[in-house]
Amino acid sequence: MNTLIAPWIILFTPLAAAAVILFVGRHSKPLSAGLAIGSAAVGCLLSWWLFLQPDPEEVLRFPWIAIGDSWLQMNLSIPIGVTVDHLSKLMLVVVTTIATLVFTYSIGYMKTEEGYWRYFAGLSLFLFSMLGIVLADNFVMMFIFWELVGLSSYILIGHYFRKDSAADACKQAFIVNRVGDFGFLLGILFLWAATGTLMFGDLTSGKGIALFAANPIYLTVACLLIFCGTVGKSAQMPLHVWLPNSMEGPTPVSSLLHAATMVAAGVYLLARIFPILEAAPHALDVIAWIGGITCFAAALMATQQNDIKRILAYSTISQLGYMVLGMASASSADVSMFHLFTHAFFKCLLFLCAGSVIVGMHHEQDIWKMGALKNKMPVTFLIMCIGGLALSGCPFFSGYYSKDLIIAWAVVKYPLLGWLSVATAGLTAFYTVRLLTVVFLGKPRGDQAKHAVESPLVMLVPLACLALPSFIAGYPFIEKLFFHVEEPTAVPHLLHPVLLFLFAVGVVSAFLLYRNAEKDPIFIPLFANRLYIDNLYDWLVKNIQGRGAAVLSWADRWIVDLFIVQIPSKIVWGSGFVLRFFQIGNIQAYAFFFGLGVIGLVHFLIFR
């Protein structure tokens, strides 16, 4: 094995698995699952091995599109190649490790579900696409896999395609992502038009950036367009609406794609182009605002949701907002990558725990029908508490280290947004403890809660495996191994005490409010209805897009058609001469007229 070939094996093994499952998987459940898990495990082992190797001197690269024209002085070469550097190796490790655990967990979760092979083929396709994003060495290759991730997400969200809600959700996810990709692709065109290159290596080196120096406005616009890709894929406002709806997919999918890895692709993209962003400070300001507002607003919405998975979905949006804010504020991309790293573990864990609860509750997802599950599902409860504490930033849990670091940077560079993100930390503790309290404590609120059962071992073992990193992944010895982060200077002294205080307030208030609640004691329609953003979009799609398109369609038939086709054709109809032949349907007549036309034409040409 060498570092030249290893990335390619990591990349293409899942695609091969997906193809084989597509062809033969329907005949055998163990084969489908085995192939998918096997391919993920191979990728996982190789990724860890690769991580421990020094960065390779050279990589393999294949031409995908190569157009060269010496006469026109135009060249375009788009290779398929890999980047093997610290960033991609780190991401490989995270993606493949979590994928292996979630694939394994899926055996238990999907045991009785339909479309088993379809599910595992989709997961393998997803893994392939995600690894392609991670390894891409140029913008077009990343865009290719970016779209493929959208496709696999579409397939997996739409797994229960006979449910109308799932069918709508997968369509919405794909289209909203395409809206983001619209900007992303334009951004790629802008960068290419200015620099003539698409390679990350060329663009992020000083030479590439220097080319922009002449026109900083252009660079800012290009960066913001590329950031649209992040807004779509990482569910930032205003394109966040698809992520909560994507919870219609099976829970392991929510865990792997819509919490731990795929949605992090947008943040990874920002990390990839970090040197370019640094040269565009105005773009960074916009990015910071989008991240900060998303982070706060999504946390507000999370406090009033009642579906266990949707609470976690809004929490994911909020945490992604932190990462985006971190990209804009910190001096190095590693700060946000650090949070991406810890978040991947604990959010994946939380979703898998939620899946365990849902299976135990016979597919009930409303937290107000649960209650007192700590007695029925003690292992799930214990592990979910670890995840919850990590999420809410409890000291000595992983999230505490990574999130506080982002907040510190944000407070220094963007004080207003920084303190907003401090407030968000309190909200995070509040909604997390609300979730845990309502689900696991109090009294059972229904028959399903009374008869809930603990999940099988094949689901609990991956949970346990994730619990450890959720706890320790933020500790300095691990941080030093994976990252090179530093604290900002001149952090306000009050910051850490305030964060601790807000954490305590969030935990205690949620515990007291929800300990014995039968139904939600607080009702804030604005938050429960997700700031009415979804309603706004529904209205826009129905009234502006739908009616506008209908008007155009009417115009096409009655105006364009009338003036350009109907009236001229009516004039010819009026002669009534040719009409007869259509009514008779006489083929010989047509042939005769065709022949006549040819003769007339030749005649015209010769004797004109």
């Binding site: 599109i65 190569a66 157009i67 024209d69 006469w71 135009m74 375009l76 077009v140 865009f143 290719i144 896999f145 779209e147 493929l148 395609f161 006979r162 449910k163 109308d164 799932a166 997968c170 369509k171 794909f174 289209i175 395409r178 809206v179 990709d181 619209f182 692709l185 334009l186 065109l189 290419w192 038009a193 002449a214 026109n215 406005i217 252009y218 897009q545 739908g546 398109a549 209908a550 155009l552 369609s553 096409d556 364009v560 058609d561 350009i564 086709v565 001229p568 054709s569 010819v572 109809w573 009409l579 259509f582 349907g585 083929i587 047509y590 042939a591 040819v598 034409l601 040409l605 010769i606």
Partner: protein, 499 residues
């Protein structure tokens, strides 16, 4: 020249097969065999084609009217070869999915074969007269197929298409005659190669009006906005094989002609009228795109979507550089295959359900999972998903068009400005078209295949047999060329387009 071009056999095979059908040979089997023979034949031509050679290959010339410079001159370069492959593939698929009609089966299959022969002849012709004539040869059976074997309001549809396409052809003919007349007297010819070299020498007269005639004529044939309303209705009424052959192959003739004739011979006129064309093609992309969204019937939606997609190819042509024209050429191929697959599938769907009204469907992926899979593949191919050949095509068009026109000005009087030229604005619209096409395709897919399945559709039979193989073949070709677009790009790089 004594040598006979192998391309002549390619054209003759369907014609001879039609003759066999008329003397009593089994219509469907003969047509299928002939189309398969042609496919193998085209693949053999690919094998012997010299990629490094920029001139036409397999050339033969038979003078027909020497005094006018008309000769049956056949030849192929990379672009023609790609179009020949497209024609051969779509013909096989169209014949394969065709349902033999009760009456006049012989005429039905012969019409399909004539369309194929016309398409092959047009793409293999170097002589502009025959280029035109072969296309006419293909149009007549198209009208017959719609008017006689069509569905719905077939006579009105056939009539509208006839008037429209006849008008387009007539304007095109005037344009070609104009191209003939601007050549210096004494050396006038219809041989494309000679005209191109004359253009290179600068001996042609003013070609502005010729270009406008060509643009209008070809534009009507390709359903350029606002001359597009015949297309959806004709495709909705046409029997599926006819819609496949026309939307997949024949409609490409107009764009192929513009790329072949206008870009090497009249580049100044193309540049001069670029803004006009940009406005019209944005009409195709956005206006027709939104009209597509509001369609309630699958066949109308597919018809409009094919009109919309022509906008990308026009954009590639208008930008007139090596990237954009390479991309446009890839899209000719990609769109031909994907729309043929979609019309084939919608025909199969109508055959099973008797309707194409989107509101009546739901949950069909349950009774017909493989059908749903194929339709999904074809839909994603049509909306330019990476992995299918449409994606590199669209991508290259975007790159080429974004680099088209005058370069950006960095500053005016020392003040930095940010501006886009018209090509770049059109590119922005075209990239938004990618979102529009996702909306209408996925909406249709969701309505047909997802959601609860009603009792009415529970017993629908799965797609099987010859049609299944044919559609899978189309999809596999799109995947292979999508994964390895350089297979086609290498051929295009050595065409005579860039001379």
């Amino acid at each position: 020249m004594t040598q006979v071009s192998p391309l002549l056999f390619l054209i003759l095979v369907p014609l001879v097969a039609s003759a066999f059908i008329f003397v009593g040979s089994s219509a469907r089997r003969t047509a299928l065999i002939a189309s398969l023979v042609n496919l193998v034949f085209v693949l053999a031509l690919f094998a012997v084609f010299q990629t490094g050679d920029a001139s036409y290959q397999f050339v033969s010339s038979t003078p027909v009217i020497p005094s006018l410079g008309i000769a049956l001159t056949l030849g192929a370069d990379g672009l023609s070869l790609i179009m020949l492959l497209l024609t051969a593939l779509v013909t096989v698929a169209a014949v394969a999915v065709a349902r033999t009609p009760d009456k006049n089966a012989g005429w039905f299959y012969a019409s399909l074969l004539f369309i194929s022969a016309g398409g092959l002849g047009a793409f293999a012709s170097i002589d502009l007269f025959f280029f035109y004539m072969f296309h006419e040869l293909a149009l007549i059976p198209t009208f017959l197929l719609i008017g006689i074997w069509g569905s719905g309001d077939r006579q009105a549809a056939a009539w509208k298409a006839t008037i429209y396409l006849a008008l387009g052809s007539f304007v095109l003919l005037l344009g070609l005659i104009g191209l003939y007349l601007i050549q210096p007297e004494g050396s006038r010819t219809f041989d494309l190669r000679s005209v191109i070299s004359m253009a290179g020498l600068g001996v042609l007269g003013d070609g502005t009006w010729v270009y406008l005639l060509l643009l209008l004529g070809f534009g009507i044939l390709v359903s350029l906005f606002p001359f597009h309303t015949w297309a959806p209705q004709a495709y909705a009424s046409a029997p599926p094989p006819a819609a496949m052959l026309h939307a997949g192959v024949l409609k490409k003739f107009g764009l192929y002609g513009l790329i072949r004739i206008a870009s090497p011979i009249l580049p100044e006129a193309v540049t001069q009228f670029a803004n006009l064309l940009l406005i019209l093609l944005v009409g195709n992309l956005l206006y027709v795109g939104y009209v597509t969204i509001s369609q309630r019937k699958l066949d109308w939606m597919l018809g409009y979507s094919s009109v919309m997609h022509m906008g990308y190819i026009f954009l590639g042509f208008a930008a007139l550089n090596v990237f954009s024209i390479t991309g446009a050429s890839l899209l000719l191929f990609a769109h031909g295959l994907s729309i043929a697959a979609l019309f084939a599938l919608s025909g199969e769907l109508r055959e099973r359900t008797g309707t194409l009204d989107l509101a009546e469907f739901g949950g069909l992926a349950k009774p017909m999972p493989f059908f749903g899979l194929l339709f999904g593949f074809a839909s994603f191919a049509a909306i330019g998903l990476p992995g299918f050949v449409g994606f590199p095509g669209e991508l290259l068009v975007f790159f080429g068009a974004f680099a088209g026109g005058e370069p950006l000005m960095d500053s005016v009087n020392g003040v930095e400005i940010f501006a886009l030229n018209n090509f770049q604005i059109a590119t922005v619209c075209a990239v938004w078209g990618v979102v529009i096409s996702a909306i209408y395709m996925l909406r249709a897919y969701r309505r047909i295949f997802f959601g609860p399945v009603s009792d009415r559709w529970k017993g629908l039979p799965e797609i099987s047999g010859v049609p299944r193989v044919a559609i899978v073949t189309l999809l596999v070709v799109m995947l292979v060329t999508g994964f390895f677009p350089n297979l086609l790009i290498r051929l295009l790089a050595s065409t005579s387009l860039w001379l």
